[in-house]
Amino acid sequence: MTAFILRRSLQSLIVLFVMSLLVFGGVNMVGDPVDMLISPEADQMEIDRVIRDLGLDRPVTEQYWYFLVNAFKGELGRSFIFGEPALKLIIQRMPATMELALFSLLLAVVFGIPLGVYAGLKPEGKLSRTIMAGSILGFSMPTFWVGILLIMFFSVNLGWFPSTGRGETATYFGMTSSIFTADGLSHLFLPAFNLALFKLSSVIRLARAGTREVILQDYIKFARAKGVQESRVIRVHLLKNIMIPIVTVIGLEFGSLIAFSTVTETVFAWPGMGKLIIDSIYNLDRPIIVAYLMIIVLIFVTLNLVVDILYSFLDPRVRIKGAK
């Protein structure tokens, strides 16, 4: 196990390095950040000063070298626009994105698995057909549009939920989050639901497919023949066996929930990392773009590792190579 984790960590470092090269090269090819920052009334002297201050007068290779050296010290550059360390700005907004992603993951699992299993057990039922039709809609509707629709219906027409922003936060167990207050939860619900819709649909479909397959297996038949209660059959024999694909997808998709919450965060003005990265791309705030992508790569790499380790717990037949 230790050897496995060590080897994977080394691989991750290489991935990070290659990624930093690609991202750094990429953002430096596009546009001129100084044009974005400076007042149009500024004269050449002022423009030259800003270029010098931002280090943009140096060759890209030299800029990259500085970036690498600083990265080893744990600094990922300073935002052109805010003048503060990029890492600090991103971490400042990370809790908001994390709680949004976690809450929508929770919604997807809590509603997705029961609905999917139900649809798998009674594939011909009317309700099952409705669930499956709904999941197709959930897959195919664009997040931006659904978000606006949710706002129009639940906020503007019904007035049940606030349409914008993050609610009050409270601190428990050293964690500051809006899930601890009623106001926070009411702000969280719509964006989380919007973000969860796609995941919810995939969980439903996966759970249904898994159920359909597993329910025909001999051990299920045997359990039933033995007289085991139906609820126990589902809980123990069925659920355990459909979990592997679901865990894989959820694990990997959690990364994309974080990385691609940008659209939802923009529609709901959620003060998370996604909104920061979109604004930074529009304004060519290169250090933030680079730092953000590095963090996202790190999250993906870590999640992959966690998923692999989880496998071995869920299915003892899966042995991690190198564990011997």
Binding site: G31, D35, G83, S155, W160, G165, T266
Partner: protein, 526 residues
């Protein structure tokens, strides 16, 4: 499902009970300031926001007219010296008194903010400030400098006591954010909210609201739905498409007004062979845009009424010069060119381009209101008078770099481009100096002259105006320069002035600002 419904109802009842008090104002802003430090970033949203907390020597009202703020009067006492008399009895938010020392401290600091992405040096360099007594300041320049009051509207005065050794972070956290303005700073959570509270000892008109909460909501539809849902009371930058519909809503109150921003065309006037102009068969051609008759023909080929009505949904004012009526230095004689395709064709024929030519219209697609649509409409109109125009638009992050220096030797890359200019100083000298004066990198003149228009007579008029302290005489010179550069030379072709729209829930009324700032002091209760 039942659980979900219960959850919904439960949460909803909680959110109702937490709704804000009547004296509070919640604002939905399109753009959040990048810092609370008033000298960190010379940028629209920052300069507009800092007006709540800080004062300037010279105030600038919704029409960019000057009024006494921290200085009660100002005048030139000789050719190169301005005297500012400061207001007596002004208290900082921490209770200490405002004096000339604060002004001197401000001038020093504003020019030396570390990491500033765009500083206020532009407005302060070449000016020597000296204290005469606690409430009198003299400002010396090397040459006569008429724009002194205009420049000093932009620089916010900070407290020497609170600002000593303070960094930008100290302003963002509130530690050093001590101003004299109508609101006091409470907190800033970047991306989430800015909270302000009323300053009861403000020397001017007292603030209407006890607390102000500003929320950045970048997306237009989201900003509107937040207002409709009652989550905010007031928003800026209403997209033109929604203006007509929202006007019908009697729960809302809209205010629109023209801005100091003109949308105009720059045309390549310095290259015999312009990169994006060809003969109709694709062959090389002598740059037709160098001929004033062709530029005039293009102006007559443009149906400004159609652009305003169709592309801008009626939310714009057609333009015949660089600033709308009412600003200092605009010409009273100039009107927008009439739409006259026949005259345009005749002018083209006179210039020897009766068969037309081929050209690419370049424009940004995320900088000005409906910018890409404007470029498309222009191309259609030009095609009708024989100019085969194609359109290429791109994000501003790419566009401006190429428009200013994407060609060989950092020359402007495009031949024909859609651009905009906001006159920060509120005077015609700003666009004249930047867009129409001969490009001179070392002197900072013609800095945004991307067509490289050049006329010695225009240069002379601008130079003379910039050295004329007497306001009326300067205004006449600026008007004359505009008539020559735009009216006769067609150095640029103005299209329209942008109109900005704010929306508030009914019962509130906003005074639209020409500088496009969203300033809560402009919002009053009916």
């Amino acid at each position: 499902m039942k659980f979900l419904r219960l959850l919904c109802i439960g949460l909803a009842s909680v959110s109702f009970s937490l709704s804000a008090y009547a004296e509070d104002l919640r604002v939905g802003l399109k753009s959040e300031p990048s810092s609370i430090d008033p000298h960190y970033h010379n940028l629209g949203p920052n300069n507009g926001f800092s007006k709540h907390i800080f004062g300037a020597l010279v105030g600038s009202d919704e029409n960019q007219q000057h009024f006494p703020d921290l200085a009660v009067s100002w005048k030139p006492i000789d050719d190169t010296t301005w005297e500012f008399k400061l207001r007596q009895g002004v208290k900082w938010h921490d209770g200490s008194s405002f004096t000339a020392d604060d002004v001197l401290f401000t001038v020093e600091r504003a020019q030396n903010v570390p990491n500033s992405p765009s500083s206020f040096v532009t407005y302060l360099k070449g000016k020597t400030f000296s204290k005469v007594d606690d409430h009198t300041v003299h400002v010396k320049t090397a040459a006569p400098y008429p724009l002194m009051p205009n420049d000093l509207t932009t620089v916010k005065i900070i407290s020497a006591k609170a600002g000593k050794d303070a960094s930008t972070e100290d302003y963002n956290s509130g530690k050093a954010t001590i101003g004299t303005g109508p609101y006091k700073f409470v907190e800033w959570v970047p991306g989430d909210r800015i909270v302000l509270t009323r300053n009861d000892s403000y020397y001017g008109k007292k603030a209407v609201f006890d607390n102000v909460i500003m929320k950045p909501i970048k997306s237009g539809p989201a900003r509107i739905s937040a207002l409709l849902a009652g989550d905010v009371d007031f928003i800026d930058s209403v997209p033109p498409l929604d203006v007509a519909r929202l006007k019908q809503d009697d729960k809302l109150q809209l205010s629109s007004g023209p801005s100091n921003r003109v949308i105009y065309l720059h045309m390549d006037q310095f290259r015999e062979a312009s990169p994006h102009v060809q003969a109709k068969d694709g062959g090389a051609i002598k740059n037709p845009l160098m001929d004033v008759r062709v530029r005039k023909a293009i102006s007559h080929a443009i149906n400004r009424d159609a652009i305003v009505a169709r592309v801008m949904e009626g939310v714009a004012v057609k333009a015949g010069q660089l600033l709308p009526a009412g600003f200092h230095g605009v010409s009273e004689k100039m009107t927008p060119d009439a739409y006259d395709p026949d005259a345009a064709k005749k002018l083209m024929a006179d210039a020897g381009y009766g068969d037309g030519f081929k050209m690419t219209v370049h424009g940004p697609n995320d900088r000005y209101i409906n910018d890409a649509k404007i470029a498309e409409a222009l191309a259609q109109m030009l095609t009708r008078v024989g100019i085969d125009a194609s359109v290429e638009t791109m994000p501003k992050s790419v566009y401006f770099k190429r428009a200013s220096g994407g060609g060989p030797d950092k020359s402007p890359e495009f031949s024909f481009m859609v651009l905009g200019w906001g006159a920060g100083s509120g005077e015609a000298s700003s666009p004249l100096k930047a867009l129409l004066h001969t490009y001179d990198k070392s002197k900072g003149l013609g800095a945004a002259n991307r067509g490289r228009h050049s006329d010695a007579a225009v240069d002379a008029l601008i130079k003379k105006a910039l050295a004329t302290v007497d306001a009326d005489a300067r205004g006449k010179l600026l008007a004359e320069a505009t008539e020559k550069a735009v009216g006769e030379n067609y150095g640029v072709i103005p299209l329209h002035y942008q109109v900005n729209t704010w929306a508030a829930k009914s019962g509130y009324k906003y005074l639209p600002r020409t500088d496009e700032y969203t300033v809560v002091m402009g919002l009053s209760k009916d």
